[in-house]
Symmetry: C2
Subunit: 586 residues, 2 copies
Amino acid sequence: MRPLSSFFPVLDWGRRYDRHALTGDLVAAVIVTIMLIPQSLAYALLAGMPPEAGIYASIAPIILYALFGTSRALAVGPVAVVSLMTAAAVGEIAAQGTAGYVAAALTLAMLSGLMLLALGLFRLGAFANFLSHPVIAGFITASGILIAASQLRHVLGIPGGGHTLPQIAASLWRNLPEINLPTLVIGGGSIAFLFWVRSGLKPLLRRAGLGPRAADIGARTGPVLAIAASILAVVLFDLDAHGVAIVGDVPRSLPPLTLPSFSPDLISQLFVPALLISIIGFVESISVARTLAAKKRQRIDPDQELIGLGAANLGAAFTGGFPVTGGFARSVVNRDAGAETPAAGAYTAVGLALAALFLTPLIHDLPKATLAATIIVAVLSLVDLSILRRAWSFSRADFGAVVTTIALTLLIGVEAGVMAGVLVSILIHLYKTSRPHMAVVGRVPGTEHYRNVLRHEVETQPHVLALRVDESLYFPNTHFLEDRLAELIAERPALTDVVLMFPAVNDIDLSALESLEAINARLRDADLRLHLSEVKGPVMDRLERSHFLDELTGGVFLSHHAATRALARPGNGGNDGVEEHGLYVI
Amino acid sequence: MRPLSSFFPVLDWGRRYDRHALTGDLVAAVIVTIMLIPQSLAYALLAGMPPEAGIYASIAPIILYALFGTSRALAVGPVAVVSLMTAAAVGEIAAQGTAGYVAAALTLAMLSGLMLLALGLFRLGAFANFLSHPVIAGFITASGILIAASQLRHVLGIPGGGHTLPQIAASLWRNLPEINLPTLVIGGGSIAFLFWVRSGLKPLLRRAGLGPRAADIGARTGPVLAIAASILAVVLFDLDAHGVAIVGDVPRSLPPLTLPSFSPDLISQLFVPALLISIIGFVESISVARTLAAKKRQRIDPDQELIGLGAANLGAAFTGGFPVTGGFARSVVNRDAGAETPAAGAYTAVGLALAALFLTPLIHDLPKATLAATIIVAVLSLVDLSILRRAWSFSRADFGAVVTTIALTLLIGVEAGVMAGVLVSILIHLYKTSRPHMAVVGRVPGTEHYRNVLRHEVETQPHVLALRVDESLYFPNTHFLEDRLAELIAERPALTDVVLMFPAVNDIDLSALESLEAINARLRDADLRLHLSEVKGPVMDRLERSHFLDELTGGVFLSHHAATRALARPGNGGNDGVEEHGLYVI
């Protein structure tokens, strides 16, 4: 049985909590709270939700993850890609700004939470692994492009929408005449300022005498400065009256208790999007958690992470939020600010709750263009087309998967992109393993080593064919072995013995067993004997569960050299040559 | 470039054709023609086609396969499972007995022919391998049950229909009161007679002095005898007037030239069924061809077989037939009757053409119950539930695939059964390879051999962790390796060096490369060095296309023993211990 603390990691670190940890956690919480306010507002905008939802979505989830998650530094809340996917999924069901939209987002968070919990309780975290790295990289890059494109209209001050690149581009083009100059000045200025902050502010702070870590944190205040400055500009020049869209009234409230819709119709419509959001969110979060944990030799339990993220999303669903996951930027800030334990997250939650109660009037005049600018600058760091070059140079198969994912995400949408990426990756794997590498081997003269006859100068005998199979045998490739053997045998009229060398055969399924039985029977009909050499322990165990070894016309040899010695006799033909019948147990 | 004779195998054997081969082929053709007449009529009934279509479907396809196919003994024509699938697919589109039904069957044959040709020309025969043996065995067994059940109504003389077992059973039950006694006597009598022929006639013929081969062929005339006797019974007792359904008027004609429909609607409706029929037909045919070829050490070229079967189906589509493939029963008769070359098939075609011209009036009074009886007796030999026991004892995964296939074929239909079988097989494979076997290894004392520490008494060192990975590394299992390593490292505080042993890693994809890079970076952050040992040639080639080897903190060792020697020093910690950096090229 698993100990209780494996379900509630808080029981583990909570017991050792001391004053040193408390100080570190409190300092980190203050810094992270300040960072999270603009980020939360921006991702709420991206998800099509009211701004306060972004703050609500950062409070309960942070606390719940702190209770159930295994990462010490992960900060959970709204993140760019999941917010985009939320907008795409919920946008199919209701119009932004309606009560139906908010209700659907809550339901999406609930479904995603339940799925993550279920995957975690059944310990099925491995399912997320069917998203290959290149597919994820391609997807994140394409999502970054989509997000940046979708926010351009806020910077230009024009209406518009769309969930694919062609839709967004067409909408931008159509509405371009309505461009609002004050909005463009604020939005463009914010983008320029934020880019400068990234490259210029940190060196400036270092020269001003700050330490590297403090300079790093100082440079991350860029969004806060941009927001303060643009609020000031709106108030001073009455830009609201000049057509600059502002955030407007935000309720002063703790996160409200909300009830997601349980309508079966809505649930069935949101099922697939929720699954994809869960998997993408989990994959993103766990890769952040692993990266952060590795430096401290801490361990991340994927199944427990699923439970932590599931609880966080359920929390978001019942407190006015929307789907959340562990984000890279917020987690790094958290760690760099000196967070010692998950309690830092809980303190951050308190900070955000205070902000939701007392600071929301301050953001009434915040221009949406500034929020869009922070999103654009943040997501452009996600866009990394170098994956294309990397994949191309490493393998054409991976390249195909990446290109498919990027193209479909941009042209058809995020859901199609993810699903196509998974499908293409699996098909490529099946295709590759369906035509395994096999080598006819011969003896390196004077040694007990056997190598590919095509790559090396080796000795072979006309009456023995030795074929090394470099792949597990399973249904897609069994006929390939049969056909290859038939071809090799047809070329060798003097043949009396065939040895299959299995050092790299890790598994055999029933198809492969039947194929081996067929090969054995066909060789027997053609007066040829079949031998095996260097069979692995688990494969041998499996073969012993069938009648194959009883029917095998030849022997099973510990080493390939033993097979060669047994068969290498002048006039060899009878069965008496096979003296050695050892098993190679690993 | 491929020689012309590889596209037209006839150019190869045709050149060596002599009097001996001619005699053998002619004798076989006469025997096979007699066998094929009842079989062709019966499968036409099963496919829901007019009886003469069965004979037409055996003429052009036989000739076209003889020109393009590679098997010397394969006989192509209507077979049970493909006829059932035809009835299921076409039955969705038109009612049996209508012109639309026949037209749809022609279109289905054309689509199937084009798909087979395309797969052959693009050399994609390997696609058929995604049907695993257990899935095929389950599917054939379930199809046999469905076919036998579907023919019961003809034996009982009642109306009915249905394409799933529950539908067929319900229809039988509903119509049972309408049972026709004379039909039941003829049908039941035929079944009893045919079963007796299978078991009793051959020994009788042997005792009567016939040789084993002649007795075998004699025993196969059972269906012809049953048909002759039941026609006689109908004529003598005027059973037609007593409600016994008979075949009725069959036109006396050579195969007509027919044009399939090119309606896009029809084509899109039949696309998936045509693909499944093509694959099932190909899989059945090639397994027959391989079995027949093996005894003579002949080779079957799967891609050329696709072309041969594609041509045969196109022939069926344009001469009044329906989808065809290579059948086991007819091929065995053909071979046992002494066929020497594919020309025997051509002579059989001539015999069937003569039968279509002159013998069709004779079958006017043939009861459908007798044809149904021949089908039932023939397909019950396909039903082999032993695959369930076999799969259960060999592996639970294979068992799951078989049960799913059988259940879905019986309950939902042939198409759902095949597709679910393929899907389940692939998922099982992905699941298995996503959690590969890995073993921490240690040295067998006094040797250079390294074995699993859990299975053997071996020596290990506290500062070195050696992990053997027994699977190719690709996206579903890379995180598994990361997590397992993190776990092992967390347990070993004294660790300084990690060696990954790769003798059974046959391939590495980009996800796995990135995972190895992440592992290397994380270990470096934790002051651990990463080494590789016994990396295979192709994997090494691939790693060299990336920067991984430049960044690797440790070495790559020819043998695992070399790694152990290099690392096994007191106070080992620096990088200078790694002197050997050889590559293991296979």
